[in-house]
Amino acid sequence: MPLTVSKKSAFEIFNKASLLAAEKNGADLYLSAPGFPASGKSYLTLEPDKEYLVTEQTTRDDLTNFAFADDKPTFGYLTYNYGKLINGLKLKNSTSFPLGHLKKYRIVIEYDPESQSVDFNSTEAGNLWYDLTEKIALADKPENRIELSDISVSVSREEYIEKVRRTINYIREGYIYQLNLSIKYDVHLIDSGAYAVFAQLWQNYPAPFYAYLKSDKYQILSTSPERFLAVKDGRVLSQPIKGTLAFSQYYPEMKKILTDSPKESAELSMIIDMVRNDISRNCRVRSVEVSRHKSVFTVDELLQMYSDIKGQLAEKATVIDLLIDAFPGASITGCPKLKAMELIDEIEPHERDVYCGSFFIIKDHKNMESSVAIRTGYYNIRDNRLSFFAGSGIVADSKPEAEYSETMAKAEKFINLGRL
């Protein structure tokens, strides 16, 4: 039952209601900020009535059986760690982070930016919506002061530079063309929880693939700008991001600096060929094509380059086949994928957990939206520690210092949490 609210404020109301429901009712959110090429629907979800926690034994069939057992949409995530397992790698540390989590909710409130309307899956969802909209009028402006302490990193600046050099050696020796190298950051949150962090990031750093959900003892916060695989009635679209230019003040010529850079262009081209490969396993022959090559958009004070890769899902394939066979995303492993993942395991001291995994909304066999879980972290409810990650793609002509700066620029919105 769709409800059209005043066009100008529809998203604003949905936005406020979502934050309120997350703070007061423990809602999970899947939010897409408007104004980006990949912007889409947003979801306020509550009270999962079916859940599936992914384990080392979970197979494609298990995921398929859960998702397609009924007509209800499946929301959730798979971690990079699960991606390691399905690609034949082992988990190195004993990580307590779940490998993935699928949920079907009793209450789903959906915001569609095209019609600027709100839709409910039940009368109960409608009632909750009216309740929330009444409350947001009365709600105080949330107190969002965040204080961080005890920042620690998995890789120091010196170690990072050594790791980039080691990566470049592997590239020169012919083992890989590109490797995505990341750093894990851990901070202690004083007197505030995950909600305050999420609200502050969402309000200050809008992006098309935000997710906020509870999973085991973790509250996950994803603020990703990157689409992994969208499938609409079998039409597949992937939009990998590669090529970054950080700026403090925007001027129009910067776009050309990014698209003309041979290094950044090559980084993107490699990943495009990989994504073509990864979706070709489940797409029809002659259907896979590249368009809008080297498009640029702005997010988090970064210019980001991307391209569209489209295909037509093969008749027998489902969105889960597509997701699993392309998982984890090409843009966050490196190329070729298996060798790059093996080397990431050797070079990075931390497990990536949910970082570089994927969040998704699976509607049916031929419809799905999903993100690459970059700019993502999690809050451990038991010890008040927030972990987040950032990384960059290393290629043969990478400069170690420049890659370190790029990584720090991507982590900045988390590191700056206490300063806003």
Partner: protein, 180 residues
């Protein structure tokens, strides 16, 4: 046609599979290097060796192809493997090229091709001829002089290669001429 594509743990194999399927109108059977056995060659009409990480010597199983009379196409690492099966050798490029294009000439025509390689054919096997080389003299396409074997250093399956189909046609036309 029964076509056999051996995947060396690469991330472009299915691009190649789609290109082959598009040109040859048959679906290649993709088998990973780790599962590849000599018996696989019995039923097949042609073998394609995919690109992949590392050096030819890290793929010793391809030794059995030396005495195989089936047509073989090798891409990138695949070409380097074929060259080393005979008496050619492979070396490290001074400046590796990954995800960039180059201009080459073949059969009197110019082509834009995608390159992804750190290693190159530094000595062409004595019973091979260079069909195309780039401006720096790096072999980009080679073929055996009297066996149906063709190799491409560049990637016909990349979206950056302007006429990928041409190169598959070229290889399979060579195979026809030699087997006649």
């Amino acid at each position: 046609m029964e076509l056999f594509l051996i995947d060396n743990f690469d991330s472009f194999t299915y691009n190649l599979a789609h290109l082959l399927s598009n040109v040859l109108k048959c679906n290649p059977r993709v088998v990973s290097y780790s599962e590849f056995r000599g018996e696989h060659l019995n039923g097949c009409e042609a073998v394609v060796i995919s690109p992949g990480p590392g050096k030819p010597c890290e793929y010793p199983k391809y030794e059995i192809l030396r005495d195989c009379d089936r047509p073989i196409l090798g891409i990138c690492l695949g070409m380097q493997i074929l060259n080393e099966l005979y008496d050619g050798s492979t070396d490290v490029l001074d400046d590796c090229v990954h995800g960039k294009t180059d201009e080459i000439e073949m059969e009197g025509r110019k082509f834009t091709v995608a390159r992804y390689h750190s290693l190159f054919v530094s000595k062409v096997a004595s019973n091979f001829q260079v069909v195309s080389q780039n401006r720096q003299g790096i072999p980009m396409a080679i073929r055996h002089i009297n066996k149906p074997i063709v190799g491409f250093q560049f990637h016909p399956e990349s979206f950056m290669t302007s006429e990928g189909q041409y190169f598959i046609d070229y290889a399979f036309n060579c195979f026809k001429k030699i087997s006649v």
